[in-house]
Amino acid sequence: MLCSPGILKDKGVLSINRRNSDFIMRYNPRRLFPLVDDKLKTKELALQHGIAVPKLLGIIEIYHQIKQLAPFLETLDDFVIKPSHGSGGSGILVVTGRSGKNFCKAGGDLIDFDHVAHHVSNILSGMYSLGGRNDHAIVEYRVKFDPFFAAISYQGVPDIRVIVFKGIPVAAMLRLPTRESQGKANLHQGAMGVGIDIATGKSCGGVYRDKICKVHPDTGESTEMIEMPHWSKIIELAMKCADTVGLGYLGVDIVLDQDLGPLMLELNARPGLNVQIANGVGLLKMLDQVESLKEVPSSLQERANLAVELAQKLD
């Protein structure tokens, strides 16, 4: 039922308390948090530094603008509306198409414009933001995810989370939406996590509801030994994000668009710990290796090689 602390320590499993005190507090200066907590700022910053992101279509800042939303949305076939300060994938509305006057939600449900407007007003009133502060709503390009993942995801958009520590990728996992997660890629909402070997880009293991799982719970397809497309680009993108935002311990969420390739979806200054179960290996050993490096090379290629080297050393 329980795992003894000795075994966890032995496997180098990072605990929440330790992550908070030894990594987030030490390597993530608080003043940089707004850069990742505010998705608008993240996007601006990414664009300045040539990082590929889903295109920003519009911003709704005040209630009054909701009136102008109807004609604006007329021009779009599909889009995503999300809160600028949302956390944990909350408050994201994905519209995949239209049916007459109605919008077609990611799950297949039809909703009318009033529903969309209410959703936007909820966002503006701060329902999804930390501390309930007033927020902005973002309308952005809907990522058309790579059909590569079609067999192992249920609605929604699968994404790849890469954990970057001091500029070096230390762990990664593929997050697959399930029926239970209602198209969301957050593990605590019921999405499935599949570990990715940093060195090879191949999937290994998997976690669903905190349990080891090697097939997608809805499609029944195996999630093992899948080679990630554009793996080196993904790694590179993740490192670039870390360099740009300046946080030492960062989670980078990347989606694969069928036309545009890897796009950075959002950044997370407090990445969770599920990546450990997904990979079947604790983070701590890798983190310790990186922490004890005297010098971190500046070139992306050298760092990618270093990551591979460190990962292989552990195996």
Partner: protein, 508 residues
């Protein structure tokens, strides 16, 4: 370095907190358990005399050093007399003075004491007396007693004991009989003993005191014998030769000076009375410490008005509740709605009692949640929606009170004590969690909050804990230390051991 600094602070705060606590317990005698009663003796001396019309000065020796007792309070009723107290060696003397003393005058001295292990001793160092020239036939009698005692003793204490043994012997010899016949009263007997001891230059004196007993409230001064062994005064019973001050002996005066001295009056009468009563031990310790004059009692919460005391009694429990929240969240890993919401709910439980509290809380949250789900469909803005929930919570509380009153279940009337804003926020947060993370998370967090609130309630209503926190508020430093320590705890939470349970299956 942060970790070591925290360790130093934790150690420092704990040591300081516990030391103050120990000082108050061991030295000031504050009890660790509530409501322990202690015997309190009120000893009164009533002085009456007839004034002869002119100026009068009344001098009376007062208790000064009282081994085995702790002075709680004393007062003087002087009725028109000028009054002063002065120290005189091991004694203390009161002086009442008046310009014109006519008719019968009454003066009172009252002291309240409690038994205590508090160690006090007479400090004076007497000079060695000169050996007197005893007249015959006493000289040879005393000489023989002293010589016989000397052979079977080692020091002043045993020497004195041996002399007393001989002089109080059941089968006295001729010498002892001779000496005994000289003394008619207990006082004369002690004086005789002092006289004998002078023969070997042992300093000795009389100790006057009262016997505290339940039997009668009137009491008289009785003499004991004291000898000085070079370091301190040792006390002996002059009749039984027993060493030490009896437990119920209340020391009043040392030396052979008369108890009182009056000029300008006659027919003096001094009567003593001793009355026993009971007092809460905490009171005893507090008033005792007042005479020991300690900063910790001057600045005690017990010196506050009773009204504010009860507020602080409650306030001091809030940190305990907070600490339970910290413990449950960082060491166990239970998630709750709002950081300190469970503490507030626990405070409300104090008024409603646990069972009804839990029942009402669950009832209101459940009904509120159902209504909240309906409100979601009305698509209200956030703040008006929160206000609506708040109003609904108040209506629910009202309904429950009215219905329960009709059903004569008056217990449920206490529902009004629930913090309604907290309830409304709980409902709102729970419904958002429900929608975003599913019913499972919402219900788990709801139960988590309730569990922490119950634990908080149990700790915060613990009589012993409330008492200890109130009397020893310096324990807050220890709570702070615990909080700092948990703030640097970076090990696994109990729930993580469950969450990562699958890790042990992985061979790698």
């Amino acid at each position: 370095m942060g970790r070591n600094v925290v360790r130093v602070w934790v150690l420092f705060l704990t040591v300081v907190g516990l030391s103050i606590c120990y000082y108050k317990f061991a030295v000031l005698g504050l009890p660790l358990k509530p409501q322990q009663d202690t015997e309190v003796w009120t000893v009164q001396a009533k002085i009456s005399f007839l004034g002869d019309g002119g100026p009068a000065i009344m001098e009376l020796y007062l208790p000064n050093i009282i081994p085995g007792y702790l002075k709680l309070d004393e007062d003087f009723i002087s009725g028109g007399f000028g009054f002063s107290v002065s120290e005189e060696g091991d004694n203390r003397k009161a002086q009442w003075a008046i310009r014109r003393a006519r008719d019968l005058k009454n003066l009172y001295y009252r002291i309240a004491v409690a038994r205590s292990d508090h160690q006090v001793m007479w400090q004076s160092h007497p000079a060695f007396p000169k050996a007197p020239d005893y007249p015959e036939p006493y000289a040879s009698a005393i000489r023989s007693v002293l010589d016989e005692a000397r052979t079977s003793s080692a020091d002043i204490a045993t020497y004195t004991a041996e002399i007393l043994q001989q002089l109080n012997s059941q089968t006295p010899n001729e010498n002892v009989k001779l000496l005994r016949n000289k003394a008619g009263s207990a006082e004369q007997w002690v004086k005789e003993l002092i006289n004998v001891l002078q023969g070997v230059r042992i300093p000795a004196r009389i100790l006057w005191g009262l016997t505290t007993s339940d039997a009668s409230s009137y009491s008289q001064l009785e003499p004991l014998l004291q000898v000085h062994n070079g370091q301190k005064w040792l006390t002996f019973d002059p009749l039984t030769s027993e060493r030490g001050i009896p437990a119920n002996f209340f020391s009043w005066q040392v030396g052979s000076k008369p108890l009182f001295h009056l000029t300008g009056g006659e027919q003096v009468e001094v009567t003593f009375s001793v009355v026993k009563s009971y007092k809460e031990q905490i009171e005893v310790a507090r008033s005792g410490a007042k005479y020991a004059s300690s900063i910790f009692t001057d600045y005690s919460l017990l010196s506050l008005p009773v009204q504010s005391q009860s507020i602080y009694r409650l306030l001091l429990m809030v940190p305990i509740g907070a600490l339970i929240v910290v413990f449950m969240r960082t060491l166990v890993g239970i998630s709750t709605f709002g950081t300190f919401m469970p503490v507030l709910i626990a405070l409300a439980f104090r008024e409603t009692q646990l069972f009804w509290g839990v029942l009402l809380f669950s009832l209101i949250v459940a009904i509120g949640l159902m209504i909240r789900f309906y409100l979601e469909r009305l698509m209200l803005l956030l703040i008006p929606r929160l206000a609506s929930i708040l109003i609904i919570v108040v209506i629910l509380m009202l309904l429950i009170s009215l219905v329960s009153h009709q059903l004569e279940a008056d217990r449920l009337l206490s529902v009004a004590l629930f913090p309604m804003v907290i309830m409304a926020m709980t409902i709102e947060r729970m419904s958002i969690t429900w929608e975003e993370n599913g019913a499972r998370d919402a219900i788990l967090q709801g139960f988590g909050s309730l569990l922490v609130a119950i634990l908080g309630y149990l700790a915060m209503t613990n009589e012993q804990l409330m008492y200890v926190m109130f009397v020893f508020p310096e324990l807050l430093l220890v709570l702070l230390a615990a909080s700092l320590w948990m703030g640097r705890y970076n090990g696994y939470r109990l729930f993580e051991l469950y969450r990562f349970r699958e890790m042990k299956k992985i061979e790698r």
